[in-house]
């Protein structure tokens, strides 16, 4: 039971954002997608979710048909997508917001079965007492839990999380990541999470994949792949690594640290990425 991505190419217009990505993700496995802004993390995730269309390559689940060729509604019964916490308007109540996850399953009127999934997902995310509250009244962390509950109500086999923690404070970041890992294990889904924080990725994911300019440049267990050279290459920063309770941790070095350690002080290359800031922003938007 694996999600298999082979030579995947995705682009906006003439510009290729994902270039020949190969990835395998197993059931019950949480894989962290790492890379600088504009490296193609979001694009890759959105392509698996059917939001973007690949130009070539394939995405298969259990060796079956190409997911990119499935009808949208059928795809939505297999793959669920959790976006960054977004501004919610019009005061939908939480139960109805979670019910949106059942959209691929019912027509106009939700069935008993749909409500059962909604209640189960809400209970799973500890939202059962908040059902009648408007989503506009929620804190960022609760909002993110609603989005994950919505994805669970979708009853997916593949769970995709696109930088779900970037709008949250540290407490909710940890809570969200713990929930993501927990859900991956207990619901036995193949999960991919795009994430910025290397330390959190090391702490919560089973495996990490580094993307640079749309190409997979390294993958494996965080403790195995993290290295000062790789991180310098991907992010353009000098770092030291340490182990904390068995998890590899990354510590960026300041200019002063570097001279004190006798390292050759090189400023980050300014033209590391030839594209403009706007273009890169668009790629992750």
């Amino acid at each position: 039971m694996t999600l298999q991505i082979s030579s995947l190419e995705v682009g906006y217009g003439k510009r290729q954002v994902v270039k020949g990505a190969n990835l395998t993700i197993g059931k019950g496995e949480l894989v962290g997608l790492l890379g600088s802004n504009g490296s193609g993390k979001s694009t890759l995730i959105k392509t698996i979710a059917g939001i973007n269309t690949p130009t070539s390559g394939s995405i298969t689940w259990n060796g079956d048909a190409d997911l990119a060729k499935l009808a949208r509604r059928d795809l939505a019964r297999i793959v669920a997508y959790v976006p960054q916490s977004i501004g919610l308007s019009f005061g939908l109540d939480i139960r109805e917001a979670v019910l949106l996850g059942r959209t691929p399953y019912f027509g106009t009127r939700p069935r008993d079965e749909d409500w059962a999934h909604v209640d189960a997902a809400m209970q799973r995310m500890g939202l059962e007492d908040l059902g009648d509250r408007a989503v506009t009244e929620l804190s960022g962390g609760q909002g993110q839990r609603v989005l994950i509950a919505r994805a669970l109500a979708q009853d997916p086999q593949i769970l995709l999380l696109d930088e779900p923690t970037s709008a949250l404070d540290i407490r909710y970041q940890w809570q969200t990541l713990a929930v993501a890992r927990d859900v991956t294990r207990k619901n036995n889904v193949a999960a991919v999470i795009a994430i910025h924080d290397l330390n959190q990725a090391a702490r919560f994911t089973d495996r990490v994949v580094f993307l640079q300019d749309g190409v997979v440049i390294a993958e494996g267990r965080p403790a195995d792949v993290y290295s000062p050279e790789l991180i310098k290459r991907v992010y353009g920063v000098e770092v030291e690594l340490s182990l904390h309770k068995g998890f590899v941790q990354v510590h960026p070095l300041s200019e002063r640290d570097q001279s004190a350690l006798g390292l050759h002080s090189t400023p980050p290359e300014p033209t590391h990425d030839p594209r403009t800031v706007e273009q890169r922003g668009y790629a992750t938007a």
């Binding site: 939001i51 976006p83 106009t108 409500w115």
Partner: protein, 369 residues
């Protein structure tokens, strides 16, 4: 949150009973009751509205007229015949046009607000009103300002340019996948364009023509006719089942955003294109008959949301009810205050509606945000 919506949910379930889900019919009782009461309110205000006017009419007259029309009998007595004609040819089409026009504008407003995910948009955001005004102005200039001969040409002019405008907006924005912001900006640009074209006509027009153009832009149901009532009824009867069928897709687009809606299995571009085309058609046909009636399309969806909540499955029907009520009441008030004179419904609508809307915004801020 409105009281109606809160009542529709029973208290949270105890932890030990996760699978004991409540029957779906219990969940939306409040919404269904609200729609039932709303329909009754529309019927009652309509019956009252028909009675209002210079030549007076009682409920008995109204019912007698209906009965005479159903049975096909023609009254022999001259006064009764006159009364029947006033009710059937003037009052009834007027009240029905107010009901259907209000409903159509409110439904269009709800669709636009949901599809563009913006509580500030109205049926006119895409520039339909200035385009229709330009079409009507052109018709007035070409065919003259006299009402009788100009009525049909006015309708056709307004309708034609509304459709040209909508086609332009949709084709220009389709290069950007009909993104909400692109649609709104293209709409603003075309509003300015058609506004300037209308201003050109007004600048060079004779006083009489100018007066006719200005009168058209006020919006009223004074020139209502049965063919308009039937056209709008047919349009709503066709559009409503489709919109209802799309209500969960609308919910996903409105509350989850384009990307998430796609990941929930919704063909966002297709739904948006079809639904905007429907909303624009409802708006165009209504204002071709009535002129520009503002306010109701912006506000009825908000009032409805406060009562039944934002779920489009119920919101669309209830918006239609609120829109109908707003216009029927506004038209009745407009005929009463300076009787025998008539103030156009478009003016009264905002005069009556604005304070109600302000009260709702300030007293229940959370639901509007």
């Amino acid at each position: 949150m409105s009281s109606v919506q809160t009542e529709s949910h029973s208290p949270p379930l105890p932890h030990s009973l996760p699978t004991n889900t409540r029957k779906p019919r219990d969940r939306y009782t409040g919404q269904k009751l609200a729609i039932g009461f709303g329909i009754a309110a529309v019927v009652i205000t309509a019956l009252v509205g028909i009675q209002i006017g210079t030549s007076g009419a009682t409920l008995v007259n109204v019912l007698q007229t209906f009965w005479a029309k159903i049975t096909g009998t023609v009254p022999t007595d001259r006064t009764t015949l006159l009364m029947h004609n006033v009710i059937w040819e003037l009052r009834l089409p007027r009240v029905l046009l107010a009901i259907l026009g209000g409903a159509a504008l409110a439904v269009a407003g709800t669709l636009f607000q949901g599809l563009l995910r913006n509580p500030l948009v109205s049926p006119y955001t895409l520039g339909i009103a200035p385009a229709a005004a330009f079409g009507a102005s052109l018709a007035i200039v070409v065919f003259g300002a006299t009402a009788g001969s100009a009525a049909v040409s006015l309708v056709i002019g307004a309708l034609l340019f509304s459709f040209i405008n909508t086609a332009l907006v949709l084709s220009l924005a389709s290069s950007r996948n009909l993104h909400a912001t692109t649609l709104i900006l293209v709409g603003i640009a075309l509003s300015q364009l058609f506004g300037a074209l209308t201003a050109c006509i007004q600048y060079f027009a004779e006083d009489e023509v100018l007066a006719a153009i200005v009168r058209w832009t006020w919006g009223s149901v004074n020139n209502s006719a049965w063919y308009q009532v039937l056209a709008l009824f047919a349009l709503l009867a066709l559009a409503f089942p489709y919109i209802r069928f799309r209500s969960s897709a609308l919910n996903a687009i409105a509350f989850a955003g384009d990307d998430s809606a796609k990941s929930l299995g919704v063909a966002v571009s297709t739904v948006r294109l079809q639904t905007i085309a429907i909303a624009a058609t409802l708006t165009a046909v209504t204002i071709a008959f009535t002129g520009i009636i503002g306010f109701v399309g912006l506000v009825a969806p908000h009032i409805a949301r406060l009562v039944v909540g934002p779920n489009h499955r119920f919101l669309i029907a209830f918006s239609a009810i609120i829109g109908a009520l707003l216009l029927v009441v506004a038209d009745a008030v407009g005929r009463l205050v300076i009787s025998p004179g008539v103030i156009p419904v478009g003016i009264i609508d905002a005069l009556v509606g604005a304070p109600i809307f302000l009260y709702l915004i300030l007293s229940r801020q959370k639901a509007i945000e």
